[in-house]
Symmetry: C2
Subunit: 293 residues, 2 copies
């Protein structure tokens, strides 16, 4: 987490910087079906960051560690010339042979997600619009706005989902966490598994909050879902005949999963299938730190 | 490793930034008697760093990893606004119950080091003087200068020493690596073990290169040794009656160890004992990132 790159004073409060840095690493473990166990924290601190602000960052780190049963066991603290840099290494455990990978998707699988997407990206967009134009410009209910902001600042990695899936040997063929948007993560599975992934446009769940926000600001909800990221839900594939078993497994741990597409043979790639059956390629892009935008 | 804090273009070449970042983490494992196994690399890259320069950094990382049998298994790459930040997490293994700690020093132990100190700090001082005043100002032999610079840029963590010591159960009572200078590291052992450490001024080995450099620039060799750091030698304590066995163990793995002091009862602290027997407190300082100098 690099100040100015991953967060600005008007998008993240200090506590959420700590929470999210650890949460995003725990999410990588969740995507392998692992149990998070330990984390190391490296913090580079510029002179203008006060002790009180750093305590907030640590408060967020400890809160996330406590929620997910992670022990903070080490790391390093150094000074920095200008910008706060927070780097987390998380370590977890999974039974030998049970780790879930991106590379096992097969033609005939269906594609699932563990919960709703696009909320974090909408929350970020809301925060940026409020900062630029003043709060009056974005006319959505306070409670709804707050839930989008919360999704951006305090995401919840899907550890229980990951572990429930790795516990049933062979149930899930491929799994990835959604840190950079659905398009980018589906592409990673498609390329690692050498398959073509077809997402059904009408099958993607859109929450009421996201729909309302998108309508208010005049953007497509699917843009936030495809290219926004940082929701830290999971996307994976499962054999069609075991899809119901998978959904039941995920619901048992409190998730709201959905089937959103299919896996086909063919060159690696990701496509949209519209309601009328038309096919459209989905670009391989998400949040890219080195893109010249 | 933070650009401007840990290195400047005239103190470290790009390849050495990678080497030293990994080496300093391997040194922490060496100080516990562990076998380094894996490392994760997190790199935040500002726009002005070219691919060619980054390849040099990775070249140094891979060279160090190969030399110490470490597998680079992951990490993260992000952009950065202005300064390169390189963070390494190293993971190693040690047999249960065999890890060496700072907390076991006992009154009656002698204090040892695994090799000569102060070379890295002298190399840094040389590089800074050359940058400020031009190379002609520091009149020491090129080969000697090169060896000091090499000590600063490509330090060698003492993994073989650490493992040889942890292999003999109970031989070493306390161990620490010297990353921030002998004073600071001896203080860490004294505080963790609740003992007083007495260092014998005349027992500290000073290499010919360091002596020559110190004389040329008009500084005390012991200043580099006490407060310089980054040599990544090890300092520890051993029962007096097993000191010879320890020295033989270290020499077998190619080290040039020395006995430099004693452990006494009393309030935690570190002292100098001069040739005439006078006692002088050694301040608890080393390289401190947050010191206002």
């Amino acid at each position: 987490m690099v100040e100015t790159v991953h967060h600005l004073p008007w998008t993240m409060d200090d506590r959420s910087i700590g929470w999210k840095a650890l949460a995003s690493n725990i999410s990588d473990l969740a995507a392998m079906g692992a149990e998070p166990r330990w984390a190391l924290i490296t913090l580079s601190v510029p002179p203008h960051w006060t002790t009180e602000r750093l305590e907030q960052v640590y408060d967020g780190l400890y809160a996330c560690a406590a929620q997910y049963g992670v022990s903070l066991i080490g790391g390093d603290t150094t000074s920095a010339p200008e910008h706060l840099v927070l780097s987390v290494t998380a370590i977890g455990e999974v039974e030998a042979g049970r780790a879930l990978l991106r590379s096992g998707a097969r033609a005939g699988d269906v594609v699932f997600i563990t919960g709703p997407l696009g909320l974090s990206a909408a929350g970020l967009d809301l925060l940026l619009r409020q900062h630029e134009a003043g709060t009056a410009e974005v006319a959505i209910e306070a409670a709804m706005a707050e839930s989008l902001v919360q999704a951006h600042r305090y995401p919840l990695p899907q550890v229980a989902c990951g572990q429930a899936m790795s516990a049933v040997h062979g149930l899930v063929h491929a799994l990835n966490d959604i840190s950079d948007g659905l398009a980018s993560e589906a592409w990673e599975i498609a390329e690692a598994s050498h398959v073509r992934i077809q997402l059904h446009k009408t099958a993607i769940p859109i929450t009421a909050g996201l729909a309302k926000f998108s309508a208010t600001v005049g953007r497509e909800s699917l843009d936030y879902i495809l290219y926004g990221g940082e929701d830290y839900q999971l996307v994976g594939t499962v054999a069609t005949e075991r899809a119901e078993e998978l959904l039941a497994t995920l619901r048992r741990v409190g998730a709201s999963p959905a089937i959103i597409g299919m896996v086909q043979d063919g060159p690696s790639g990701v496509e949209w299938i519209s309601a009328n059956g038309s096919v459209e390629a989905i670009q391989k892009r998400g949040y890219n730190h080195f893109a010249k935008s």
